[in-house]
């Protein structure tokens, strides 16, 4: 089941709107880890287009990631006004999920005592709460999954969309990537060895409204689930994964942090501009899909392979065709 893009929505540090997906994501803030400054691409949360969602009764207490998501999905829906929302499914992918509220809630537990942690905050920490807000606010009636994992869960989410459409569970699927930044993330990324290589974390949401492909640019075969434990194994996993595709099809540069070194050893032609230095995990993976669709639509190549370097556990890749 090939997937074609009907419309898109984006909330990134480059702004709001579909153009903000593939535009360079500027770093907007500096956070310090152990005295080392780390630059991050954060969202301007006082943007009126985001603040408007606070007027929705259900969204009054929602987490920042919820606002990113609902805005991105609304943009995508605006691009397809005649869509049957009741037959539209949504699958969201997260590397980190509801980080800000989860950490705030646990801080309340440890500092104020278990009995005094806010019961209002807790439900908003649950992985699928943001997506449930999106579905309730925008009236989507198809199947709904929140998927988690390393960055390859974006590829897994695309595969879920293929599965639902193949089975006729819905007519269209919105595949969504979303991440939010919390300063504690810098410490976690440092501890995980991911800051080496100049990774600049960023936040936001990208929504791609996809349907069964009739003609034109499409997301095709997906090869996912190639494991690694060490960075050397990461290269081997990538080679196993990419062996599923023609060796003559160029690769999109989707590397970040340590994967740049590994990818340099893969003997395949590279197409498109160098990957952005900012890293939004699933968000970056979603932007890569858009970049690949732009490349085939512009005629630069009839096919592109888009690798998804999971950063921590798996490698995936998929083909985008004109």
């Amino acid at each position: 089941m090939n997937l074609s893009l009907l419309s898109a929505g984006g909330v990134t540090s480059a702004g709001l709107g579909p153009d903000a997906i593939t535009a360079p994501w500027p770093v907007t803030a500096t956070h310090s880890h152990g005295g080392v400054p780390v630059q991050a691409g954060l969202i301007e949360q006082k943007d009126p287009s985001l603040l408007r969602w606070q007027k929705e009764p259900r969204l009054r207490r929602a987490s920042p990631i919820t606002y990113f998501m609902v805005e991105a999905v609304e943009q995508a829906l605006q691009g397809a006004p005649h869509l049957d929302r009741g037959r539209t499914g949504v699958v969201a992918s997260f590397f980190l999920g509801c980080l800000v509220y989860s950490i705030r809630f646990y801080r309340q537990i440890t500092e104020e005592g278990r009995r005094f942690a806010s019961p209002v905050l807790f439900p908003e920490t649950v992985f699928n709460s943001p997506l449930s807000h999106v579905v309730a606010t925008l009236g989507l009636g198809g199947p709904v999954y929140s998927q988690i994992g390393d960055k390859t869960c974006w590829a897994s989410a695309l595969r879920t969309a293929q599965c639902w459409l193949a089975n006729g569970d819905c007519d269209h699927v919105i595949v969504l990537a979303a991440e939010e930044f919390d300063p504690h993330e810098v410490d976690a990324l440092h501890s995980g060895g991911l800051l080496r290589g100049g990774l600049q974390p960023c936040e936001g949401a990208i929504a791609l409204l996809l349907g069964p492909s009739a003609n034109g640019p499409a997301i095709g075969a997906i090869a996912d689930g190639y494991d690694f434990r060490t960075r050397q194994e990461g290269l081997e996993a990538a080679e196993r994964c990419l062996a599923e595709f023609s060796p003559h099809t160029p690769l999109l540069d989707t590397t970040a942090a340590w994967t740049r070194t590994a990818a340099a050893k893969i003997s395949r032609s590279i197409i498109g501009p160098k990957a952005m230095p900012t890293e939004g995990f699933t968000l970056s993976a979603a932007a890569d899909t858009m970049r690949a669709l732009d490349i085939v639509a512009s005629g630069q190549s009839p096919e592109v392979i888009v690798p998804v370097w999971g950063l921590t556990r798996q490698v995936a890749a998929y083909r985008v065709t004109a």
Partner: protein, 405 residues
């Protein structure tokens, strides 16, 4: 265009670890003995909470792995591994060294909290300026660490879909595995869910005053809340033709799956249970099975006033006051969140196989709408179909329909 026949989906392996037993057999026997796993919690800190009891599992030992290596894993990983082993072993997919015979095997998995205690440890260490051991805590927290440990131990890899649809996730993971097989994208999937007790989640439910201060009493008019638990369960789902061709023992079939999202409220179902009813009807429709042919429903039945009220209405509208029996095993096993749907799927399959129905324990004053349906001690039935139903935060609903082999 010729229509491709929809493949039949067989279950060829199952396994579970619960607070009542380290495997499916011991859990099943304890359930039928009417036991509840409720007791004081030692695995997590609960001082200061309104409720301090729950259903804590004993971590199974793993003779081939040194204790030091096991201790590095999250609690949820340690619950998941034995359940996976049981399922793969029963499906005859393990060699003599416990390595999977399939080098690539797709997984569809559910969790809500991943390896949460590792995340909690990371934050506490960070706030107390302890720098040692942080990389291991980060590595073991996220869901890919748990599924990765399964891959490492049993020697396979493959696509992993980890769904975090709150307490309906276990049902979703199993339903999605069936969807993958139906679509032809794969022909065998290891599906299930895992969940360990954690301080953050326990405190969250305690703060919402959702925890039962005494025995958890699903579908009782005096119900006062849920009992949190922990555990894991996995099933091997397989295209039935493939299963037959390789001579696998078929334990039952997954006949239908329905999922809906209830947009009434973030943490409360629509009082009339209508979205859940739609999920149940979709599962019946997909399975082409009449409601009257379903002999047993394993309810979500958390024991909270809102959940059980909505669920009783949905059950009554779909199954009426006929022969379909109903029970919630959460009174005995606790609510295992992302693992619940998987554990309860295992129980449905065991009920189909044995004809024994898990009793509704702790019942004093039954909810009138479902009073006649609730399973009594020692009840048996000649079942041809059974359904597992789950609801979750965010309005996720899942209904999975099984039929007898």
């Amino acid at each position: 265009m010729s229509a491709t026949p929809t493949p039949q989906i067989a279950i060829t392996g199952l396994g579970c670890v619960t607070a009542l037993g380290a495997d499916a057999t011991s859990t099943w026997e304890a359930l039928h003995a009417g036991r509840s796993a409720r007791g004081p919690l030692t695995a997590i800190g609960v001082d200061g909470c309104r409720v301090t009891e729950g259903a804590e599992a004993s971590l199974p030992s793993w003779p081939s792995w040194p204790e030091k290596r096991l201790r590095r894993l999250s609690r949820s990983t340690r619950l998941a591994l034995p359940a996976v082993r049981q399922a793969l072993s029963e499906a005859r997919l393990l060699d003599a060294n416990d390595r999977c015979l399939l080098p690539r095997l797709e997984m569809s998995v559910s969790t809500t909290a991943c390896g949460m205690e590792k995340g909690e440890e990371f934050l506490r260490a960070l706030w107390s300026k302890t720098r040692t051991g942080q990389s291991a805590r980060v590595a073991q927290y996220q869901s890919q660490a748990q599924t990765g440990a399964i891959h490492d131990l049993f020697g396979f890899d493959g696509p992993v879909m980890t769904v975090a649809n709150a307490c309906a996730g276990g049902g979703n993971a199993i339903g999605h595995a069936a969807d993958l097989i139906r679509s032809g994208m794969t022909d065998i999937v290891l599906a299930g869910g895992y969940e360990a007790l954690s301080e953050l989640v326990f405190t969250g439910f305690d703060g919402l005053q959702s925890l039962a201060p005494e025995a958890c009493r699903p579908f009782d008019r005096g119900r006062r809340g849920l009992m949190l638990g922990e555990g894991a369960a996995f099933l091997v789902l397989e295209n039935a033709d493939r299963a037959r061709a390789r001579g696998a023992n078929i334990l039952g079939y997954l006949a239908g799956y329905g999922q809906t999202t209830d947009t009434h409220h973030l943490t409360q179902p629509a009082p009339d249970g209508a979205p859940l009813e739609r999920a149940m009807r979709r599962a019946l429709e997909q399975g082409r099975i009449n409601a009257s042919d379903v002999g047993y429903v394993n309810a979500h039945g958390t024991g909270t006033p809102f959940n059980d009220g909505a669920e009783a209405q949905a059950f009554h509208r779909v199954f009426g006051a006929g022969q379909t029996k109903l029970s919630s095993t959460k009174a005995a096993l606790g609510h295992t969140l992302g693992a619940a749907g998987a554990i309860e799927a295992v129980l449905c399959l065991l009920a189909l196989k044995s004809g024994q129905l898990p009793p509704q324990i702790n019942l004093l004053d039954p909810e009138p709408l479902v009073a006649k349906a609730l399973v009594g001690h020692g009840e048996k039935a000649d079942l041809s179909a059974a359904m597992s139903v789950n609801l979750g935060f965010g309005g996720s609903n899942a209904a999975v329909l099984f039929t007898r082999a």
